[in-house]
Amino acid sequence: MEKSIDEINRRIRDGSARVVTADEMPDIVSELGEEGALQEVDVVTTGTFGAMCSSGAFLNFGHAEPPIKMERIWLNDVEAYGGIAAVDTYIGATNKSVTRMESYGGAHVIEDFISGKSIELRAQSSGSDCYPRRSITTELRLEDLNQAIMVNPRNAYQRYDAAVNTSEDTLYTYMGTLLPHNANVTFSGAGTLNPICNDPNLRLIGSGVPILLGGAQGMVIGEGTQHSSAGSFATLMTTADMTEMNTDFLRAAIMYRYGPTLYLGVGIPLPVLDIETVRRTAVRDSDIMISIKDFGVPSRSRPVIGQVSYADLKSGTIELNNEEITTSSLSSFRRAKMVANTLKRWIEEGQMTLCLPTRFIDTSKQAKPMRETRKVVLVQEIMQRKVVTIKEGQEITEAARKLLKGETNHLPVLNEQGRLTGVITTFDIAKAVARPERKVKVQDIMTRNVITTQADEPIDIAAQKLEHHRISALPVVDAQNQCIAILHASDLGKLFKPGGGRP
């Protein structure tokens, strides 16, 4: 048996369509069998609610008097794109406010617009004969705009890798807070409710298909950026009218030390046309496997350290190397279910009918890494090879003398074999002098847990270490842990000399 999309739409219109949410489907199929389920169910609704960084909206403000062609634009101090004349802009979710960097961003502008707040628009222009005005400041509400159309380049990822951290430090990432030594694992995605997991071959999801986006009725534009169907990481580009959205399905968020992002509800109704649709929508959490990646390694290719299913992750703990680890979801399953339920209600009430894609999305596509034509700057290019060191057994006074003489306030400490065992700073010496409890040797007061770098490490990774640990120098060590140089935070400035640019 097969059903046509027209037949399903006819049932939606006369109110007789049977609509279920994707998490209910596996049990229905077990109970009725595939043929039975096909006969019984007309539409399966899906949903997801989580951080979707690659989101934003096109806004049109209307013309001012005298008119301006806006070239630089800020909304509540968050910069918006100024390259699409004259009073159009695109506000991206992850842009940070120039005045409230850590607590406000593009996502907040979008949420504030939707919840009816007024937003300050500031814009500048170089002026022209047709657009003489040079600057403007005004307060705007969503209802004052001509258009506010959300267009999200990359939404509704099919899956996300789960994250752990084998390193010794807490990491703050787009996958949330990762505790050291694998003390927690974070993941994202709605599993059994995820739209693409219920249509992995993209037979039903494609251009023109209706969706719920942020609470509004919208549609799929087509493939999303970074779409990588071949690797089971398909994405979608989506759109909907921002004026119809609400904060049940759209929330600004801040990932600590990562920045702003937008939590969005996205759901897609799937018409149950044939047995293939039934099979695919019967997917359970336990069928969807994802990799656990080690975020302790700051590289594009983070090592995979295990495979788990969404069922494992949602149980609250997983086992990794014989240890039990607590899991944290970053997306909300409860809200994902609200998305699927809302779609279900819309369709039951005849407010939304379905259609098939007007263009299909390529399922053979695989995203490529970036082609880089300039080589990455390494630590060895700016490190200082002349490094003053001290031995563990030497007196503090000697350390103080060296610190005073040299232009550094970091002394790497070496053992008898010349290996790095600690570091001593002017602060350590000051502390020792303030509390002289018979601590006279360098080894009594040095910091033993030294953060180091290597000569062939990319400079940006070393810079991140300095910033993360709030320190001002890194000893550079070789494979034998011999201290061969030192990298000072102040040396990083060499890379950004005015007019020079980066080598």
């Binding site: 949330g176 807070t177 003390a183 929330r251 801040i254 607590t326 944290s328 979801s329 909300s332």
Partner: protein
């Protein structure tokens, strides 16, 4: 009720002293000692003995603040993601069967770790 107890100068272990004087059981949730800022302890006492205990502590030279119960959870801001669950050392957070976040504030020791881990600024300390 939670009390935040601070001792500015070196002094005797006043908690033991207060237990002895008042006969009230005091549970130490966490304690910290710092050469510059003195000692600080977060203690849990039965509600009815709160005034008695804090008065006695003050008379022994401690600075005492009565805290509201545990972490403050803003249900309006919370989206029930669960990012906080694996961060909390005391298992204050969990999901109910409908994936709604449950907060057992009684267990909270006010360590503050969950606050920055909540993407929606739904968690705060009330003191």
């Amino acid at each position: 009720m939670k009390l935040l107890v601070r001792l500015i100068h070196d002094s005797k272990p006043i908690i033991a002293q207060v237990v002895k004087d008042t006969g009230v059981l005091i549970n130490v949730d966490r304690a910290r000692s710092d050469a510059h800022e003195g000692e600080e302890a977060l203690v849990d006492v039965p509600d009815e003995a709160c005034i008695q205990v804090s008065d006695r502590m003050r008379s022994l030279g401690a600075e005492v603040r009565i805290l509201e119960e545990g972490i403050r959870h803003d249900e309006e801001e919370c989206v029930d993601c669960g990012a906080c669950i694996s961060i909390c050392p005391k298992k204050v957070f969990s999901f109910d069967k409908d994936w709604k976040l449950q907060v057992e504030t009684k267990k909270c020791i006010l360590c503050g770790r969950c606050i920055i881990s909540c993407p929606h600024s739904a968690l705060s300390l009330s003191y």
